[in-house]
């Protein structure tokens, strides 16, 4: 029983870290219909900025997170204006080719500027160490990641479903021409959503840095996992992504505990099964 509980907690923590990093991608792919393979690269930029701010400049952790989010957005917005704007609504192959190209450029630049070694974001003393849950110890920063995941999920859900901006966003996505005719400034809506998605990527990159350490190949190394989460959850659906992360986290963690020699077999078996039954993901919408 103790082991089951223990694995459940590990699964929850891993799933939430996945969620924080992947949700931004779900927003770009589902709501903006852009296959953004540079998502991992933006998460990595966030990690680098936070690492530089906290380790080399000695700033506080919270401040480093803010700097990472807004720094990454500041880098991403010009890229959006110059490059992404051209591929909204373009065929998926065009989007994939351009975003993978951006990813390679960012990897090269990161390697040149920061070098190939691992970078960490030093944690504040409150997040260091572990908390004793009675039957086992869990790292404090994992609990922090779980809370961050829940906060992000709730905040995003509220913003998209309940606010005026959410209404405009959904309208622009469903029919950009009609939304524009009704007075919605679609390019501003797109730019803001892109900024939010990139900010979430950066946030995830920092919060998840303990699990997925920052190095130049971060941008590609974990991209498959992020894409899997989005396609299983259903692009653009926040509850879908949350369920997908928890489910995949549970399957991955249990598989690794029981039969590590099978590797990622169970993970991908589950992915294949879910996609067969729900081709648009667990909570995906049919294309309108």
């Amino acid at each position: 029983m103790q082991t089951v509980l223990s694995i459940a907690i590990d699964a929850l923590a891993y799933g939430m870290v996945l969620f924080v990093i992947s949700i931004g991608l779900s927003v770009t792919m589902g709501l903006m219909r852009v296959v953004n393979l540079a998502h991992g690269a933006f998460a990595m930029i966030g990690g680098y900025i936070a690492s530089y701010a906290a380790r080399d400049l000695g700033l506080a952790y919270g401040f480093a997170i803010l700097l990472a989010i807004f720094g990454t957005i500041a880098i991403a917005v010009p890229i959006e204006r110059l490059l992404y704007r051209r591929i909204y609504g373009a065929p998926e192959l065009t989007q994939v080719l351009m975003t993978i190209g951006i990813t390679f450029c960012i990897i090269g630049i990161a390697n040149y500027v920061f070098g190939p070694t691992l970078k960490t974001v030093p944690l504040p003393s409150e997040l260091q160490g572990s908390v004793d849950l009675g039957f086992r110890a869990i790292a404090t920063h994992r609990i922090f990641a779980i809370l961050c995941g829940l906060a992000v999920a709730a905040g995003l859900w509220y913003a998209i479903e309940k606010t005026a901006f959410g209404v405009k966003l959904r309208a622009s996505v469903d029919n950009a021409a009609m939304a524009a005719a009704l007075g919605v400034r679609t390019e501003i809506v797109y730019a803001v959503s892109f900024a939010v998605a990139v900010g979430l990527a950066a946030f995830g990159g920092v919060v998840g840095a303990e699990l997925l350490p920052v190095e130049p190949y971060y941008a590609l190394r974990y991209m498959v996992t992020f894409l899997v989460v989005v396609s299983v959850g259903g692009a653009g659906s926040i509850p879908g992504a949350l369920i997908a992360c928890l489910l995949l986290g549970a399957i991955d963690t249990t598989g690794r505990y029981l039969m590590p020699e099978f590797g990622e077999f169970f993970f991908y078996l589950a992915v294949i099964a879910i996609i067969c039954i729900y081709p648009r993901g667990l909570a995906g919408r049919a294309k309108g």
Partner: protein
Amino acid sequence: MKRMILAAVAALAMSGAAYADTIKIGVVGPFSGPFALQGKNFKAGIDAYMALNGSKVGDDDIEIIYRDVPQADPAQSKALAQELVVKEGVQYLAGFYFTPDAMAVTPLLTQANVPLVVMNAATSAIVTKSPLVVRTSFTTWQTSTPIAKVAKDAGVTKVISVVSDYGPGVDAENAFKAGFEAAGGQVVEAIRMPLATNDFSPIMQRIKDSGAEGVFAFLPSGPTTLGFVKAFKENGLKDGGIKFFAPGDLTQESDLPALGEAALGIQTTFHYAVSHDSPENKAFVEAAGKAIGNPAELSFPSVGAYDGMHVIYKMIEATGGEQDAAKAVDAVKGLSWTSPRGPVAIDPESRHITQNIYLREVAKADDGTYYNKEIQTFEKQGDPGLAALK
């Protein structure tokens, strides 16, 4: 007149062959991509050697030609080696970070009349594939066997082994098991985890449930190592008194700043620590640190490359710059010298390097940086993996 010109040209060509040649050495390694750091270390080691010993052997200039194989890719490695031999006319092949890359090249050597000096690839069997292979790095067996004795001496009798599921990981598992059982210990469980593991908590739970007093681990150096070492501490295993044993790949110097506090006190056995205290190593670290740019990026492949260059220089001396692979390899059999890592020798039979293996502990220096502190020496270790092959 025409005949005279021809004769003059022929004479020129022949005299060119007789002295002041440029001898080319082809180095294959990962110079871009996820393993670029290791390739950088190759280059730093080679540059350091040439800075300290000159870029000439006798009258011959030495020229290094680099070729990039970013990830383990035997087909590309073989193609590049062929290109180096045929088009560039290299007399020596060197480098090779990954075992499959080195293995793919061994069938070419005899026909090409070129010796291969392996500067890293650490699977025992490579030297048996061709009599023209010499290795100046280490093998996973060589560095993993002494830690078994260390574990036993620390009073641990039950150990769980946890390795990444790929060639060197399996090597490490077998080496540790052989050494530990010979010393009277017991490996209670052997886990092989997928290379692409991000979250090690479930593995930590397995270790806890196994009831072992110690864990032997092997992972490739880099991002996964960081996750593993941190998970070990955060899941309360370190504080729970479980002892951690590993070969030195896990605490390579370039990963230590990231590992930091979590790695403190981990004991590993390895052939080289950047902190090794000797005049040879001081000179080496200074030269290689300058070559690599950022001394914090210096790691073990650099010393393999440095000693590889030493072996090649000796080969060139012995053959007088003529291309004769068999003679060159024969000349370095039994060669011994003082490397930055300590006294080393090329074993005449296996052509693998015999060297000291050091037990090190991750310690904190006065300036707040972390380093591998050598605390015990296992002298003149050969490669036990070759015996296991038979």
